[in-house]
């Protein structure tokens, strides 16, 4: 139906991933903050994968 659901999911994951890792890099360096960077990058990668899959099937 009209919309490939991978598109919004990929986009959302990419945005949240950038926000998380960006915040992790800029905010005060605590023990936990590196978790934000790492997980943000994982989400960004997952988002990019989704977007790539959506694009490929067009």
């Amino acid at each position: 139906m009209g919309l490939d659901v991978r598109l919004p999911i990929g986009l959302m994951f990419a945005i949240i991933g950038i926000l998380l890792s960006g915040y992790g890099m800029l905010a005060a360096r605590t023990e936990h903050a590196s978790l934000n960077v790492a997980w943000g990058l994982v989400m960004l990668a997952a988002g990019a994968l989704m977007l790539w899959l959506a694009r490929r099937s067009r």
Binding site: M1, G2, L3, V5, P8, I9, L11, M12, F13, I15, I16, L19, L20, Y23, G24, A27, T30, H32, A33, L35, N36, W39, G40, V42, M43, A46
Partner: protein, 567 residues
């Protein structure tokens, strides 16, 4: 704990996307079939993830973590003997009749197979139940956010209800399904870091085992009661569930799980929206793969929480106590979240909690508006109107359904007892359902009268059994024993399982007996509805991974392996 800007931004991004999906889909909603059945156009993998996600309400996530803390790894019985075989059975054996009959809902299948009164009974109790259960889970969510984040009782209720209302109003079932897929990924990515961080804190899997061994010993249960699934079920007293293997395999594995996964329209609707018979059959099988792995995501955090609590002085983490002095297990998952996630990740975790809550609610609402419109309104109040009329009725039902569940949440907050009693009543209604469907699909001689009175008899048997037994330590009333106390069970869970077993058996025997005494239906009218009279699907040409039977076998093999690994 207060959320800061970055947490709110992440939550906000999520809200923008779910509403955006609903808004984008609004122009595809032209007919009632588009609105209630997604025009039967959903690809298998999307339907599969939605199938899983619709069931993944906040109560599932929070409740499974709570059970993980309370009962340990044995909670995975709900997955590895409960859900998975039932999902495989649904996909391989039952879906051909649901999808093939072109019924638009589960109650409608009952109408086609049996008669009007059986459909009416199922439709009305189902509609009431969806409203009520979405109200209950909204109430639970509001309590949680109130406790953790200090939000007022109404805030999360109105925000979530408002967003779910809007996106279903715009995009109907398609919007619910698409958002469920998005919510599924969010739930996985929101909670997965918790498992990493938690395991790190308890010293890995080995550290977790050692700590849980102490938990088991200190409470007088068998060795490994928190880390094994079957080896501790030889004796009901050896494990915290208070169940022996037979009660688990029959009560949960057979009656309860099959009753839920194979007959509940909430989940079956996702498969009915699939774009082909093959896709519909693969829907529950695709869902079974992530479902199998969910114990690691939702149960293990609960186990970590109780392990950390055992060593509270060194770990600095302890589950809070309830008013009566017992550990508040329901807080296992949310407490870990606020305790170990830094801001940013905390926003993601809270968003995942909201996502799980909203996917469950949207599942209820989209199933409610369909059953209301097709099985109650069109069947009994106004038949023969234009398609547009029913489409508009579906939109009205969406608004009314959401309002009613918000009202139910407020009622739950005021009168806890009423809710407990209603929940009990629905348990009685649901317990015998699977017997009816099993006979309906696989025994052509089963008749409408048999099905209807079998269902009533099964519910009555459930009520009787509940009224005559009591879990140990409870007092008579809503927990049971309200007629007389003839027998007691080691735990509430054991009582529930046995109630279901009695209800199923009573319904099965009654339906068979009454069917044999009443006039059979003409066989021609049962083609496509009953196994023996329906031509087999031939799918030998497709690759094995596109055929239900081989996928089902692979899923079952993986399930057995998991059971053995954690034996």
């Amino acid at each position: 704990m207060q959320l800061i800007a970055i947490d709110w931004v992440i939550l906000g991004v999520y809200f923008v996307f779910v509403l955006g999906i609903g808004y984008t889909l609004r122009r595809y909603m032209r007919t009632s079939t588009d609105y209630f059945l997604s025009g039967r156009s959903i690809p298998a993998w999307v339907a599969g993830l939605a199938f899983l996600s619709a069931n993944l309400g906040a109560q599932e996530v929070i409740g499974m973590a709570a059970s993980g803390a309370k009962y340990g790894m044995a909670t995975s019985h709900f997955y590895w003997i409960g859900a998975i075989p039932a999902m495989v059975f649904l996909g391989v054996f039952m879906m051909p009749f649901y999808y093939g009959s072109r019924a638009r809902s589960v109650p409608e299948y009952l109408k086609l197979r049996f008669d009007e009164k059986t459909r009416g009974l199922n439709a009305i109790s189902f509609a009431a139940m969806t409203i009520f259960s979405s109200g209950i889970s909204m109430y639970a969510m509001a309590l949680l956010t109130n406790l953790l984040l200090g939000w007022s009782f109404g805030f999360s209720i109105w925000v979530c209800a408002g967003v779910v209302l809007l996106y279903i109003l715009f995009g109907g079932l398609t919007s619910a399904i698409y958002n469920e897929v998005l919510q599924f990924f969010l739930i996985v990515f929101g909670f997965a870091p918790l498992v990493f961080v938690g395991l790190q804190r308890v010293g890995g899997w080995h550290g977790l085992q050692t700590a849980l061994q102490e938990v088991a010993t200190s409470r007088g249960f068998a060795d490994g009661a928190w880390t094994h699934t079957w080896s501790i079920t030889g004796d009901a007293a050896a494990n915290p569930m208070g169940l022996e293997w037979f009660g688990i395999a029959m009560g949960l594995g057979f009656v309860l799980s099959f009753g839920y996964w194979c007959t509940d329209f909430l989940v079956v609707q996702r498969a009915m929206a699939a774009n082909s018979m093959s896709a519909a059959r693969r829907t529950p099988l695709i869902a079974a793969v992530p479902k199998m792995l969910f114990p690691f995501l939702v149960i293990v955090p609960g186990m970590i929480a109780i392990a950390l609590t055992q060593h509270a002085d060194t770990s600095g983490f302890a589950l809070p106590l309830k008013a009566d002095g017992a550990l508040n297990y329901d807080l296992a998952m949310p407490m870990l979240l606020v305790h170990y996630f830094p801001h940013g990740l905390l926003g993601l975790g809270i968003t995942a909690l909201f996502a799980s809550f909203m996917s469950g609610m949207a599942g209820n609402v989209s199933a409610f508006n369909t059953v209301w419109t097709y099985d109650i309104y069109q069947a009994y109040l106004r038949s023969g109107a234009s398609d547009r009329h029913y489409l508009n009725m579906g939109r009205i039902a969406t608004v009314v359904g959401v309002c009613l569940s918000v009202a139910a949440a407020y009622v739950a907050n005021r009168f806890n007892n009423i809710m407990d009693m209603l929940q009990l009543l629905f348990a009685f209604v649901n317990a015998p359902l699977f017997a009816t469907f099993l006979l309906g699909m696989f025994w052509k001689r089963a008749t409408g009268h048999g099905a209807f009175y079998g269902l009533l008899g099964g519910s009555l048997a459930a009520a009787l059994h509940h009224g005559l037994t009591l879990p140990r330590g409870a007092s008579s009333g809503v927990k049971g024993g309200w007629i007389a106390v003839l027998d007691s069970y080691p735990s509430e869970m054991a009582q529930n399982f046995w109630t279901a077993i009695y209800a199923f058996t009573a319904c099965l025997l009654l339906t068979i007996a009454i069917s044999l005494l009443t006039k059979p239906r003409d066989e021609k009218s049962l083609v496509g509805l009953v196994y023996a009279l329906t031509p087999r699907e031939v799918d030998n040409e497709a690759a094995w991974y596109k055929r239900p039977a081989p996928i089902g076998c692979a899923v079952l093999a993986a399930m057995i392996l998991l059971n053995l690994l954690f034996w």
